[in-house]
């Protein structure tokens, strides 16, 4: 059962989200490569999971009754690593090792490298299938934990995703909740220009899923959607989370150029010069943090 999200807890989560975004920027700058837009866009959802929704024990990552958070689009792992570190899975200082030799924080997640990761991912379109396997196993074993699978909109161009979309309703997997980061961007541009996905809601409906659309940058709205998903019977749920890629940093928001690039590594039209991008981003986030704090006073 997910706890009531009272006002004080919501404030705490919103402040954590700002902190997480700062850590994402710092971690990516240190790594010198990696993805920026997706992690910033999905920060609110990751904070909601690790600090409110998940039934988990960071000190005991293999606890059998834990909810499973499966990341399908592995390239946004910086935000997963950041929120895992904040939640206590490993020291925050270890974030500095991302993408470096001898690190547990691989450029794309590797399950057996880091306790707490449920899958190895990066190649797209494989997460829903693996989540189906976990959901089937939970049903066989009479377990009540939930399987949450985070996916991107771009990976809905992979055939494997549609194979999995057919299978989950066939086995009535109501312990499975898929979340789509509907941020409308992918490497080559806007999804609707590269290979249109719309009407995505109707497509899932046609495949017999319970479909919910939410503002993915609104923690309260998102938590409510997950509660609804968990009370659905005999049907898997998909939450289409409309997010702003690059959320929180003005020159990154909704710009597909930031999909696969960290700050300070190249020139982007409208962004500060190389070397000043991270500084500007952190400054903007600091302002958001102060505004958030003031609102909460």
């Amino acid at each position: 059962m997910i706890d009531e999200l009272h006002e004080e807890k919501l404030k705490d989560l919103e402040e954590k989200a700002v902190k997480a975004r700062e850590l994402v920027i710092e971690t990516l700058v240190e790594a010198g490569s990696g993805h920026t837009a997706g992690p910033l866009g999905m920060t609110d959802i990751f904070v909601a999971f690790y600090f409110h929704i998940l039934n988990h024990k960071p000190e005991n990552p293999f606890w059998e009754e834990r909810d499973r958070l499966v990341l399908s689009n592995g390239h946004i792992c910086p935000i997963q690593y950041v929120t895992m570190a904040m939640a206590g899975y490993f020291p925050i200082a270890e974030l500095k090792t991302l993408r470096k030799v001898n690190s547990r924080l691989q450029g794309h997640p590797h399950r057996s490298s880091l306790p707490g990761l449920e899958t190895t991912s990066g190649p797209l379109g494989e997460g829903i299938s693996q989540s189906i396997g976990m959901a089937l196993a939970a049903k066989m074993d009479g377990k009540n934990h939930h399987i949450y699978c985070l996916t991107s909109d771009g990976e809905h161009q992979e055939g494997n995703t549609w194979e999995a979309m057919m299978m989950a309703p066939r086995y009535k997997l109501d312990n499975l909740c898929v979340v789509i980061d509907r941020n409308n961007i992918q490497i080559d541009g806007f999804t609707e220009n590269v290979m249109p996905l719309e009407p995505l809601h109707d497509k899932y409906r046609a495949f017999n899923w319970h479909v919910i659309d939410v503002d993915g940058n609104n923690i309260h709205e998102f938590v409510d959607a997950v509660k609804q998903a968990n009370s659905t019977h005999q049907q898997p749920t998909v939450i289409i989370a409309h997010t702003v890629p690059g959320k929180g940093v003005s020159f990154m928001e909704n710009r597909f150029e930031w999909h696969g690039m960290p700050p300070d590594t190249s020139e982007v039209l409208g962004a500060p010069p190389k070397g000043e991008q991270a500084k500007k981003a952190l400054l903007e986030l600091k302002m958001i943090r102060e505004t958030t704090k003031n609102q909460h006073k």
Partner: protein
């Protein structure tokens, strides 16, 4: 002579009993179903053809039909495996591990998920279906994976033993099966161990060792017997475990014989011959000849016709043995 220590089918040379190795897979799964409640089976619309139908009937709650979707099947299996199940995925090898190769690479092999891959319709003995359905590259594409286990049973009895043994091994395993009936060489009493080769034919002062994987062991034994009658002496090693190789067993034979012929119903590139030559060139270089598909796809036809046309049978094996012994003398 047939190695008496291995209790092989003594009637093999008189009236060879035949059975498809996929039958052994089905029987092995039935046995596992009863022994181990964690064993689950997934099929991609080929339930009867891959012989998992009896498991599906007896254990419906542990059988998952995935439809014609091999990528999904592979990744679902990985999810089941990390949750503690022992999934066997069943399809034709050209589709699984062919079509879904990257899915298996990421979600099972790199992910260290305990998934067993049953690849069927391997080799040109798949016959009339034609080259689209004759998997002849599957050993190459699976044995290149780090820490993978690749097993090619030589007959239906060994197929059953390999299937059962694979469930007791923690880690991904590729099991390769054939559609058509092939000779039964072993018996229930023949020892089987993952990672071990078996010396099926043995003689005094052998001049070459025939290393065979899969059903062509029958052709290799026929060749060995005829060669003996012609005064040419060979040993025949059945290498069902292509990865890991039985290093000790192979080194012992190569030391004793001094030359090697590899035999497989697979491309010469990347199969057992490739594995052996990679190993021997680093450890004990010896003249070697390869019997296998030579840089070509096959075609429709009866298995026996194809074996002859594509030079995989006893005549080709005998020629390769004579050639390798001749090279040894130079």
């Amino acid at each position: 002579m047939l190695n008496p220590a291995l209790k092989l089918n003594q009637k093999f040379f008189e009236e060879a009993e035949e059975a498809p190795t996929r039958q052994g897979y089905g029987e092995g799964l039935l046995e596992l179903g009863e022994k181990n409640p964690n064993v689950v089976v997934l099929s991609a619309d080929l339930t009867e053809s891959t012989k998992v139908n009896k498991f599906a009937e007896k254990y419906p709650e542990r059988f998952f039909e995935c439809g014609v979707a091999e990528q999904n099947m592979a990744a679902v299996a990985a999810g089941l495996a990390v949750a503690g199940k022992i999934p066997f995925i069943s399809s034709y090898a050209t589709f699984s591990p062919g079509k879904n190769w990257e899915t298996i690479r990421t979600t099972t092999v790199y992910n260290r998920a305990n998934v067993k891959i049953g690849g069927h319709h391997s080799g040109i003995v798949t016959g009339p279906d034609g080259a689209t359905h004759q998997a002849t590259e599957d050993i190459a594409i699976t044995r290149c994976w780090p820490k993978m286990t690749v097993v090619v049973p030589c007959d239906a009895i060994e197929a059953k033993k390999a299937t059962v043994a694979s469930a007791g091994f923690e880690g991904p395993v590729y099991l390769r099966f054939t559609r058509d009936k092939t000779p039964v060489i072993t018996s229930n009493e023949t020892p089987f161990e993952l990672g071990k080769a078996g010396l099926f034919w043995t003689c005094d002062l052998p001049q070459a060792v025939i290393c065979s994987t899969g059903h062509l062991i029958g052709e290799a034994l026929l060749a060995a017997k005829e060669l003996e009658e012609e005064g040419v002496k060979v040993n025949v090693l059945n290498i069902s475990s292509v990865k890991p190789l039985d290093i000790e067993g192979i080194l012992e034979q190569v030391k004793k014989c001094g030359s090697v012929v590899s035999v497989e119903d697979h491309q010469q590139d990347g199969g057992l011959g490739g594995a052996l030559s990679e190993f021997l060139v680093k450890n004990l270089p010896a003249p070697m000849e390869f019997v296998g598909l030579d840089n070509t796809f096959a075609e429709s036809g009866k298995p026996k016709e194809l074996i002859e046309k594509y030079n995989l049978g006893k005549a080709a094996i005998k020629n390769a043995v004579k050639k390798v012994i001749e090279r040894k003398g130079k």
